[in-house]
Symmetry: C2
Subunit: 174 residues, 2 copies
DNA sequence: ATGCTTATTTGCAAATAATGCGAACTACAT
DNA sequence: ATGTAGTTCGCATTATTTGCAAATAAGCAT
């Protein structure tokens, strides 16, 4: 998504107003690679602006989405996660931490798929499920992987192409 | 998933009981290609067994999932959809009707992805978003496409897949 | 068949996620 | 400073799904 400043301009051009709430949310989302949920973003925002309403967060995220500034991502059935990266990209989800990473795929066009007759593909979304190998080096737990950093180009090959035992229901991580 | 008969055996072997509700749900799910939601399956079941509880449907689907007999699919953020096809496969969603089709992809391993460092892929899920071309011939609106029919092998290419360089800088970032 | 044991079914409350709506508030042009 | 229309916010409500406990009923032993 655009910088808070550019967004402000774009907003005004559309007759929308710049409020403290919006300014804060723009800032919190800009370059945010954590793929926060509305609730998560609300918590962050509340730190800096106690009293801000969750309703406002939902509303702002919705308008940013309508303006094409952020992307929505329904990943595991839980809450929607928002992504300020609107380039054509995909995702990797760590089954352990639930962390979500942006992934760029070079050759989607080469996929050979048996699509239903007459199906016209408009876009493809790929999700890599797996886990981040915790190589001992640093605190491991808090080792932050930035997608912009040494993202290795690799050819995909699942550990075991077998069925993964599916958890029955959603998010019960307690 | 297995046939209702085989399932019955498998259930008994595990000390589970065969009830009329389960028998019905087994039958309704077997070879079901509609990817129903719990609610949808409940409605179908209700026709044949008025009074069956939605709770029972949820419960049965959950146990079938735990037994590896069906797969869960979180697609658009709405209700979970269930799939008796547990082979390694993917999906195509019609943006118009919401219909969901099974899709087999041959060469997932050849995808070149820039995954986060140390990320171990366990499995990949691909969703093709698009629409079923309604070839004018019949009522068009009600033309039904079945997945079992001549699924064409095709190389994927979105209608307007412009390749965006990573982090394209639109305007003055920052 | 009859009874028993305990797996199942069911209804209802409750949790989670997100949206509708209207009253109060405020950005910002004049 | 003032007015107006865009915003924020709280509360009610919808949609899914799960937790719980009482009522029910498979399936085994007799």
């Amino acid at each position: 998504m655009h910088s808070p400043e550019v967004l402000a301009t774009k907003y005004k051009e559309q007759g929308r107003r710049i409020t403290p709430q919006r300014k804060l949310l723009f800032t919190l989302m800009h370059n945010n690679e954590s793929h926060p949920t509305a609730e998560g973003l609300f918590e962050e925002a509340s730190k800096r602006m106690p009293g801000i309403s969750l309703r406002t967060v939902y509303q702002t995220l919705e308008e940013l989405s309508e303006m094409g500034e952020i992307q929505l991502m329904h990943c595991d059935g839980g809450a929607v996660r928002f992504d300020p990266n609107v380039d054509e990209h995909h995702h990797a989800v760590c089954a352990e931490t639930g962390e979500l990473f942006d992934v760029y795929v070079d050759n989607i066009d080469s996929l050979r798929a048996q699509l239903p007759d007459g199906f016209e593909v408009q876009n493809v979304s790929i999700v890599f499920h797996g886990r981040v190998a915790k190589s001992a080096p640093r605190t491991a737990r808090s080792a932050r992987i930035t997608t912009k950093s040494p993202a290795r180009q690799q050819t995909v090959r699942a550990k075991s192409a077998k069925r993964t035992p599916r958890r029955a229901s959603r998010g019960s991580n307690t």
